[in-house]
């Protein structure tokens, strides 16, 4: 185990930002801390970094108690949402600033180390530019190069992609993941974007309102969300009452049919929305609960769904989540 958080609690003035958080992170893992804004995820990252003091609890890095270790002794690289590139230094200058602090490195070694990380993020030819001369995505990669140049033991990423537009963002997702795999470096990324977490992470820590809701692989989180919050926050989820039980099912797992069989639910179609390969259907059950369904557009065509038509819904047992 590389990093261990034990019962971390953080209270600002009177507000609890983190409530008894425990989590383990393995060496080489890419872990996302996912949650809505204000859930405490950034605070948790800053506590791991040592940039914030905790109220109680412990942080272990490589088996050693690092709870009160200053940031400089924790050996991590960090990328902030704002990138925090030094605007008065070139790309190269930004990277060298940290390297120059390393003891026992010759000047040539520093430069070649800087070049190496610049090539890794594909910015070698832009090394003499100032941050403001670069596009957002390039600035982001500069920050990443600066963070990895010192060969840190782990990488912390605080919403690194949220300031970028959608296209650049999705490309950088795979770039960051590729670099992390090449370096086999442990990485912890904070994000509020569930898609980002699902596509990038080995494991996700889902947080809400200062608590950890669930820790698991993207598949586990998606397929069997531990709490209604997780179910709702990640992907779309239908909730309905079935004999005193709250049940949940993903829209794509509901099967629609026009032939009735036992245990089926009845519903009236309220709305049909063509979305390309999929069609989103909104049905209303007799108790007024609304159910969303995603079916292939092909099926939808065959069934010739009309608004106000009565249909039958199958909720396959293996996909049904009960709370």
């Amino acid at each position: 185990m590389f990093l261990q958080m034990k019962n971390i609690t953080k209270i600002f003035d009177k507000q609890t930002a983190l409530n008894n958080i425990s989590a383990d992170i393995q060496k080489g893992e890419f872990v996302c801390i996912l949650g809505p804004s204000g859930c405490g995820k950034t605070t948790l990252l800053r506590i791991i970094a040592g940039l914030e003091n905790l109220t109680s609890g412990q942080v272990f890095i490589n088996g050693k108690d690092a709870t009160f270790l200053p940031p400089s002794k924790r050996n991590f690289g960090i990328v902030f949402q704002s990138y925090a590139l030094f605007p008065n230094m070139t790309v190269m200058g930004n990277i060298m600033f940290g390297l120059q602090q390393k003891k026992g490195m010759t000047k040539d070694e520093m430069v070649s180390k800087a070049y190496e990380s610049l090539r890794m993020v594909d910015l070698f030819e832009h090394r003499d530019k100032y941050p403001r001369q670069l596009s957002g995505g390039m600035q982001q990669r500069t920050a990443l190069a600066r963070a990895i140049a010192l060969s840190p033991a782990f990488l912390l990423l605080d919403e690194p992609l949220s300031a970028l537009d959608a296209k650049v963002r999705s490309r950088l997702r795979s770039e960051i993941r590729a670099i992390q795999k090449t370096l086999q470096i442990t990485a912890i990324m904070v994000t509020h974007d569930q898609e980002e977490a699902l596509t990038m992470a080995d494991r996700i820590i889902v947080m809400n309102n200062s608590f950890v809701e669930q820790i698991g692989t993207p598949r586990e989180i998606y397929d069997s969300p531990a709490t209604p919050f997780v179910a709702n926050f990640i992907g779309a989820m239908n909730f309905f009452q079935d004999s005193d039980e709250t049940c949940a099912i993903r829209p794509e797992n509901v099967i629609i049919t026009d032939r009735h069989s036992p245990h089926d639910f009845t519903a009236v179609i309220k709305h049909v929305e063509f979305k390309g390969p999929l069609t989103r259907v909104l049905g209303e059950m007799p108790n007024r609960t609304e159910i969303h369904l995603d079916i292939s557009s092909e099926t939808a065509d065959k069934m010739n769904l009309n608004e106000n038509a009565m249909v039958f819904l199958k909720m396959p047992h293996e996909h049904l989540i009960k709370y």
Binding site: A49, G50, T67, K73, R74, I78, G98, Q133, S135, P152
Partner: protein, 565 residues
Amino acid sequence: MMNSFKQKLRGVSISQLITLSACLLVFTIVLVFPLLSLFSKAFLSRADEFVGFQNYITYFGSPMLRASILNTIDISLWATMFSASLGFLYAYALTRTRIKGKVFFKYIALIPIFIPTVVHAIGLIYLFGRQGIVTGILGADIEIYGRLGIIVSEIVFTFPQAFLMFFVALEFADGRLYEAADSMGVPPLKKLFKITLPEIKYTVVSVFFVCFTLAFTDFGAPKVIGSSFNVLATDIYKQVVGQFNMNMGAVVGTILLIPAVISFIIDRLISSKNAGTLGAKATKLEIKKNNRRDIFFFAFCSLVTLCFLALIGSLLVGAFTEFYPYNMGFTLANFNFHESAGGIGSYFNSLKMAGLTATFGTAFVFIYAYMVEKTNGLGALRRYGNLLSLLPMALPGMVIGLSFIFFFNTPSNPLYFIYGTITILVLSNVLHFFSVPFLTASACLKKLDKEYESVGDSMNIPRWKTFLRVSVPLSLPAILEIFMYFFVNSMVTVSAVVFLVSSSFRIAAVSITHMEEAGRVSQAAAMSLLILAMNVLVRILYEIAVKLIRKKFEHKEIVTDAEKN
């Protein structure tokens, strides 16, 4: 107990703790201790025995001294009313009309900042004195010495402050409000009272208190032109320097503090409200064409400018003529300063003092603001630092000077050795002018990404290195502004240093009062011009430097959006 203390200290950088504590300690020694000795002096007899309020009873028992209070309030009120109204109109002209020559008008309005207040009075004497230029033209003496002269001098002194504050407040306006008013056919005067004035109501209050306090505590002008019209500041001087009655001086000093402290509290209360009154959706105010309005305001600005130029002009006349008004021949002899007031040496001393004040003051203020702003944790210490940094704003120069004598001029004080040296002058100036630079520095540091330090920490870069290589270069315009502020103010200040100069180290601004006292008015005028010239030069250099820095940054602003897909 010990354990919880240790617990609290964990995660706090020791070097940051030491630096911050050192900053606060220096400030406490220079600010708090002298103030305490001032207050204690007010309650002691000459023999250093505790006498309670006896000194105050004596003070208020003297009709002469009591009259001073009323006199001071009287002149301060008049000066405030005039400079606030004039400052408002002037700022309005420069922000809400389409008159020509706005840049020229703006810089002329700042001239009084660059000369000691003593000089405003000297200029007035040249213009309206018994042999004044205007007196000669009118053929009538308006009796400038005394109350009238003080009031006019204080108007000149406080006008730039009032103008600048109104200028900042009026510079930005929400154009939508005026457009809406126009569409409803609201007459201009109603717009002024219903839109413009309510928008700047906090500024009006601030201007009132700032001007009142400045006039209330000024020493230079009443000293020169006050004649037998006594005010509190001259009373202190007479008590301390004339009669060596330190205790009575301390009593007057504490009274001098009252409006300053009230002003400080009110300023603190409304400064939080003043911020962010302009919504994000505000549109720029489009100033409509209006010839009648523009003619009026152009005439007004020209008149004010003319007054200031006449003041400077009179100094030029005085400085460069043989023996005004009897021998109007050109001469440079007046720059041959008499040795009794320190000669030209006092000017060089002033430059040295202002240079040192600016250098050390800028360094100290910036490090201090950085520590208060960027230290991790240590909330209580940082709050204390914030509070201390604003206190000098409430301290009139006279009070600082006086409290410095009481504190440092005691042989038992280990810092006694700095008394009578340039060090104590520099120290008093740094303290006297500390608050405004501190606000400038902390506003500038607040704008810098707070994660620069986090990134530095993560890369194991010591804080001092991040400070020197990142924060300082990025704050260069603010640092230069602070440097200029310290320099210019140190060149013109009289009130704090008048108690602290020694015969072996004289400074120009104080020497001017001595020259005037000794009847060498033309030399005083000459010295004033030298001070003005240096301050204008420093200001010009500052403007050029800031332009160059901005240009350097702009030049590189070529966004190459070479994002590959």
